[in-house]
């Protein structure tokens, strides 16, 4: 029974309310184990627990298993439909004192169909998306070594399908830089000027750990990377970030690149506004891109969990004189925080240059629908 006074903001179904009322204990504190109980409800529950969206804690080992999965149906303009079990990502987190290990192993296109092909696993591939070891000297100074998400922009750092509102990804959030870096990072959180800040300083070699990358990957080969990101945030309210990165692009117009980026996020009463702008320059050729996105809840019979999404994107590639843009309109149904169903339609203009065709893969024109869940 729900305690009196509790708010029932998400009342779309009984399952939602059950989720709200359940006891979630997704963290392990080593010796923090209760030893006695007096009556039902007075005893913290077993450390062997699984809860959707918070993973499975392996007793007192300090290890938690989790991940996310998504599947999508695409019908790009002028092309046939396709289905993909897009991502199955497995997280392994292990904590011991000031050390934390984290890995994300991704199975891409685990199951696919369409474009004249029957259902199959032909295109399935494994990627070490992230693999790093952290050491916390203090909240203000932590160290990371391994493969990690490049701290450029907000979207790249939360790009998992259950965490974003659309099936497609704005080009500016991935195309101008390597979404991953392999190297070392110093990062931390601190409070200054009465505000919450976090920063990341990193340097790396090649962005890839994998021996072979498929051609359709957004993740081109970069090397000799370094950069910095600073964020001012109020969790649950707003975030403003600025990033700088330098790298050597190995494929497609090889050479040195510098990138500056600004991003913002604001939310109130479950409405959101967010955007990113990036400008990349090199000897002779520059490119830039941006997106602006708004999200608002809809008052529908399904409850308060249906959202309308609108987004505008623009991307000017260095090898094109034509500005590519996209308008995206979509709906998302989020019955539980870790689960989201999405449908969207996008229209726009492409840059008309096929040399870097992979760049547009993340945001095709046409229809897209998907379901994604954190588990």
């Amino acid at each position: 029974m729900q305690p009196m006074g509790a708010k029932t903001r998400r009342t779309g179904s009984g399952a939602v309310q059950q989720y709200r009322n359940q006891t979630i204990q997704p963290i392990r504190f080593g010796q923090h184990k209760p030893q006695h109980s007096a009556r039902a409800g007075d005893d913290p529950t077993s450390p062997w627990e699984y809860h959707l969206g918070h993973g499975y804690r392996l007793g007192d080992s300090g290890v938690t298993l989790g991940g996310y999965a998504s599947a999508e149906i695409l019908r790009p303009s002028g092309r046939s439909w396709s289905f993909q079990a897009e991502d199955i990502s497995l997280f392994v987190t292990a904590e011991k004192g000031r050390w934390r290990f984290f890995s994300e192993t991704e199975v891409n296109d685990a199951l696919s169909a369409g474009n004249g092909e029957a259902f199959g696993i032909r295109r399935a591939r494994f990627d070490a998306e992230r693999l790093h070891l952290d050491y916390t000297l203090a909240e203000e100074l932590k160290f990371r070594i391994g493969k990690f998400l490049t701290p450029v922009g907000r979207w790249n750092l939360i790009h998992a399908d259950p965490l974003v509102w659309t099936t497609s990804r704005p080009r500016v959030t991935a195309a101008p830089f390597a979404p991953h870096a392999t190297g070392v990072m110093a990062f931390g959180d601190f409070n200054a000027l009465d505000r919450e800040w976090n920063y990341s300083l990193y340097a790396g070699g090649k962005n890839q750990l994998d021996m072979k990358k498929p051609d359709e990957s957004l993740d081109s080969v970069y090397r000799d990377t370094f950069g910095v990101r600073v964020v001012n945030e109020m969790p649950g309210r707003f975030q403003m970030g600025a990033s700088y990165a330098h790298f050597e692009q190995v494929e497609f117009f090889p050479g040195s690149r510098d990138l500056a980026e600004l991003d913002f996020f604001w939310t109130r009463n479950r409405m959101e506004l967010s955007g990113e702008f990036a400008y990349r320059w090199s000897a002779g050729k520059d490119d830039w891109g941006l997106y602006l996105q708004g999200v608002a809840p809809l008052p529908l019979p399904l409850g308060e969990n249906v959202y309308a999404i609108g987004r505008y994107e623009a991307f000017q590639r260095e090898d094109s004189s034509r500005l590519a843009n996209r308008w995206v309109a979509g709906l998302a149904y989020r019955p539980l925080p870790p689960l989201v169903f999405k449908v969207e339609y996008s229209v726009g203009v492409d840059a008309g240059n096929s040399v870097s065709e992979r760049i547009v893969e993340g945001s095709p024109e046409g229809f897209a629908a998907s379901v994604a869940v954190l588990f």
Binding site: A6, K7, A38, G66, E139, I158, R237
Partner: protein
């Protein structure tokens, strides 16, 4: 018998912010909460910002190097909602996206217990733990770090939790 007199053994810090909590349909017990820590935790002043950073998993060590283990009541508990609104300035649901993103980075939200008694037991037995209970529920198993002015023992008579 109320447990209030035992509080004379612990250090208290007035925290004026907590005096203005909205009344709950569940009664006065949800209006005042006390932040509690393990008895072995050195007493250091905690302001609202520091407390918020602890429950957002931004501050993760006490000054003596012990890992901080924040503990929450369930999201629907009136005291959890009051704590979240007063300290974090948000409903628990408004942090769903934040915790989803943190989970994506291998960081987990505070441990959750089912009742105030479970909170007291957990905090009492867990080095580095920090939680909160109704002002009238706190006892000598734990230390109280913050204390609402309305429960000033020098001014107000001890109150008994309605459910005790």
């Amino acid at each position: 018998m109320g447990r209030f007199p035992s509080l004379g053994r612990v250090s208290l810090l007035a925290f004026a912010l907590l005096a203005s909590g909205p009344a709950s349909p569940a009664g006065r017990e949800a209006d005042d909460f006390v932040v509690i820590v393990t008895r072995d935790t050195p007493l250091t002043p905690l302001d609202k910002e520091t407390l918020a950073r602890i429950f957002l998993r931004k501050k993760i060590f006490w000054d003596n190097g012990t890992a901080i283990a924040p503990v929450n009541l369930s999201a629907s508990h009136p005291l959890r909602r009051l704590f979240s609104e007063q300290i974090l300035g948000l409903d628990p649901e408004e942090l769903d996206d934040y915790w989803n993103a943190q989970y994506f980075h291998g960081i987990f939200p505070p441990y959750v217990v089912a009742s105030e008694e479970a909170m007291l037991r957990f905090v009492a037995q867990s080095p580095g733990a920090i939680g909160y209970v109704s002002a009238c529920a706190v006892d000598q198993r734990v230390k109280a770090l913050l204390w609402p002015p309305s429960a000033n023992p020098a001014r107000d008579p001890p109150r008994i939790c309605p459910q005790k």
